[in-house]
Subunit: 366 residues, 2 copies
């Protein structure tokens, strides 16, 4: 039973699941911005992918799917890593591929357990580079307490890939009674951030463009499962696990993109205080030089958490006691209006809208 596709079937194929018309995707070609995590990405995902695969799990659009298999609740997440360069200060594509997937499981409240890794190698890749990447994955997996249990390797012709792409897929066990979801932020909730933003993005950009800064930044690439566990332990100890509304690791598109998504999904507003958002001087300097806003720059080892007000101080203190959260802060609050929007009180006392990014600030960041 082959799944043939030919002209005569176009009509049927255009609407595989009945008479509901597919949305118009009004771009003749894929552009870099479609992989940015911003508005263009969202449009591609909604109009081309979700519209065709419609099911309640996919439509939740969280960073991980929560599944039931034989009565056990699993988290399931996948990510392709295409970062260039593949080695950078603070990490490499291998550490990123393991930690990124571990983080997507952890922020959903799952205990990360197993990884699958699929490699697309470009013909001519130095074997020593591959070995270094795989070493790095093995160490990252060991540090995160996950096992890599299955994999695949493909080799593409020279000029049809770029050194190495890694797709890691993870399975976690939803072993706590969490109720984390991007639609659960409520007016009055506090917005927590675990530390300095923009380190990963600025590191990659500096490497790629050969920029030199004093006190050059390093990627913050790290596994967040321990920090997440510390937060959930604290909420559990307070007997109020549901007060942790949603957690995210602000990668592509940065903190601004993650908060906009939560605001929209929760139909609530957010007010941030610029003075509370930790940005290293080098990162701020590089951003000014390059015309970037650090709020949109990728992180690979930071956590954003929205929590109920009654538990915010306890959670902040638990965060700050963890190695990866020592610079944690409450950076703002959830408010009723303007619904679906993120505002920021600036240093100088004004208020500006922190909008959704349209296209690509910095491609191939992860």
């Amino acid at each position: 039973m082959s799944t043939k596709v030919d002209e005569s079937e176009q009509q049927e194929l255009a609407q595989p699941f009945g008479s509901c018309p597919l949305p118009i995707f009004d771009h003749p070609q894929i552009v870099l911005g479609h992989g940015s995590g911003g508005k263009l990405s969202a449009e591609l995902i909604e109009k081309v992918f979700v519209s065709r695969f419609r099911n309640p799990t996919l439509e939740k659009m969280d960073d991980q799917a929560v599944l039931d298999v034989g009565g056990v609740r699993l988290a399931f997440t996948t990510d392709s890593f295409v970062v260039t360069p593949i080695f950078f200060p603070g990490g490499d594509i291998g550490a990123l591929a393991v930690n990124g997937t571990v983080n997507d499981l952890a922020v959903g409240g799952a205990k990360p357990l197993y990884l699958a890794a699929a490699f697309i190698l470009e013909e001519g890749l130095p074997a020593a580079d591959l070995a270094r990447v795989v070493d790095s994955m093995a160490i990252a997996a060991q540090n995160a307490g996950v096992q890599l249990v299955t994999g695949d390797t493909k080799v593409v012709n020279r000029g049809k890939g770029d050194k190495v792409f890694i797709t890691t897929t993870g399975i976690g066990h939803m072993n706590r009674a969490t109720e984390l979801s991007a639609d659960r932020a409520r007016p009055g909730d506090k917005i927590l951030l675990s530390g300095f933003i923009g380190d990963h993005g600025i590191t990659i950009l500096s490497q790629r463009e050969g920029l030199e800064f004093e006190g050059a930044p390093e990627s913050d690439c790290a596994a967040l499962h321990g920090l997440v566990a510390a937060i959930l332990d604290e909420a559990e100890a307070a007997g109020d696990l549901r007060s942790v509304r949603v957690m995210r690791d602000p990668t592509r598109g940065g903190v601004a993109t993650v908060l906009n998504e939560i605001a929209q999904r929760s139909r609530a507003g957010m007010i941030l205080r610029e003075s509370e958002i930790p940005v290293r001087e080098t990162v701020r300097g590089a951003c000014e030089l390059l015309g970037l806003d650090p709020l949109y720059v990728a992180n690979e080892g930071k956590l954003v958490a929205v929590v109920a007000p009654q538990i915010a101080d306890r959670v902040l203190s638990a965060m700050q006691q963890h190695t990866l959260g020592t610079d944690g802060r409450i950076i703002g609050e959830v408010v009723e209006q303007p619904s679906g929007m993120v505002l920021m009180r600036t240093f100088v006392g004004g208020t500006r809208v922190v909008d959704v990014l349209f296209g690509e600030q910095l491609p191939r960041i992860c």
Copy 2:
């Protein structure tokens, strides 16, 4: 806690897990053959990957990992699809990506349930091509009874990818008491094959090289979950589920590669009868013209099963009653000697060794 890699750590990184020395991978660069499914692939996987990630599940080296999560047995498998061209008679990269992963779950005895799909798109890909691929995936998923529940999209610069690469990862439920494993073939067991071989590989090759044959073949791309279920149902009805020793879908490297792997893992020999192996005239002709052996050419909708002699006829009959197994045959037997080798009685009455492929017969076939 960043996972830094620098020169001073090379010694430690070379041996992340204690004092066991890593094997020497004696190739300076990755070549196409490292993705072939043959000896070069096996060497890369063993020396670069498995040696660094050592764990009992990975070392089983089956097409899927079997995991325990909260007392439930899961199958977990991942595959990157990089086939070129992305559209071909009988299917496309989308159908292949869904069916290939469904098949890896099914042949392990799992009921395929959920898929994750990660797309690496090349800048400039026509949006209509992407939509056609995704349509095809949606139809294949519906036909296979699986849900695509999570995904990822990255876009790489023009010339750093090749239209579209898809990595699909699947979760299945091991809901039967099967004991399928490549090390379970025993002398006396029968080797079953579900139909004509080489259709997929020759289709891709013809498209790529612009070859024209009379009665041009079509890819056999199909989901095998139903055929596998029919076989296991029959064995269960006979009260002898363990008599189905191992099943495989002979993709990269073809039937020859799969049988060699089983012979080696089971420390048994195999004798095939060339007269019983179904090869279409067009495929045989194309193979002769191109100097290929159909036994090594990829299939994407065929099943190889090794079953105990007492149940072979019943299983064959169940196979033949399924749409995808009407041309099924018993193509040979497992024997004691020569251990780890596959022999074939040829049309003309001789015997030849069906060896393991060294490198690449045909790159980027799936």
